[in-house]
């Protein structure tokens, strides 16, 4: 009778309880860098918060356009909904900007266009920070 081979070790450890990582993920979304700060990675938190904040403020100063979800043809839906998700990913920066009445039209011009891209890039940077905070909180990364 042959022995059964041991099952291979999982590539990732099992997901810990949701209360261990969800507050970190929510904090990381709402305030860029806050997830790392909660996990006591203060230098990384400072670099991430500084980068997201700086590119977002530059986007505002360049009078970038904040996307609204819009439907129509496929390309319009992808660009405007994707842009909206990118803007929303900056958390409280986006909500405060809207709350203070920022409402720039989507006009032609390279400065405004770069500003629009910077505002979305801030959200994409924060998504990377959220994923990193999640991995640290679940023990998949130091």
């Amino acid at each position: 009778m042959s022995k059964k081979a041991a099952p291979p070790a999982p590539a990732y450890p099992p997901l810990p309880p949701i209360r261990q990582w969800l507050p970190v993920v929510v904090a990381a979304w709402l305030a860029p860098g806050a997830g790392h700060f909660l996990l006591k990675r203060r230098y990384r938190a400072a670099f991430l918060a500084g980068s997201v904040l700086l590119i977002f403020l530059l986007g505002l100063m360049m009078r970038g356009y904040l996307f609204e979800p819009m439907s129509g043809d496929l390309l319009t839906t992808i660009i405007y909904t994707g842009g909206f998700i990118g803007n929303m990913a900056t958390g409280v920066l986006y909500f405060m900007t809207k709350w203070f009445g920022y409402n720039q039209p989507d006009v032609a011009g390279h400065t405004v266009d770069y500003g629009t891209k910077f505002l979305v890039a801030a959200g994409l940077f924060n998504i990377l920070a959220i994923v990193d905070a999640f991995e640290i909180a679940t023990g998949r990364k130091d």
């Binding site: 530059l58 920022y102 890039a121 920070a129």
Partner: protein, 61 residues
């Protein structure tokens, strides 16, 4: 909120710098690796910018 106008090059420079910082922080595990990756990433961004700029310049002559 003051208004700001940056040139194409300045905008690219700022984006490359901040993207390199974020990518280095989230992808590497030690500070030494982060520093090396950040500098390398920024260097590649700049190399691409100058390469494509020359390509466009020569293509439009």
């Amino acid at each position: 909120m003051p208004k700001m106008t940056l040139s194409h090059f300045e905008t690219t420079l700022v984006f490359a710098l901040l993207a390199s910082v974020v990518l280095a922080v989230v992808t590497k595990r030690t500070d030494r690796d982060r520093l090396r990756y950040g500098l390398k990433s920024f260097g590649y961004f700049m190399l691409t910018v100058f390469g494509l700029s020359w390509l466009m310049y020569l293509g439009h002559r």
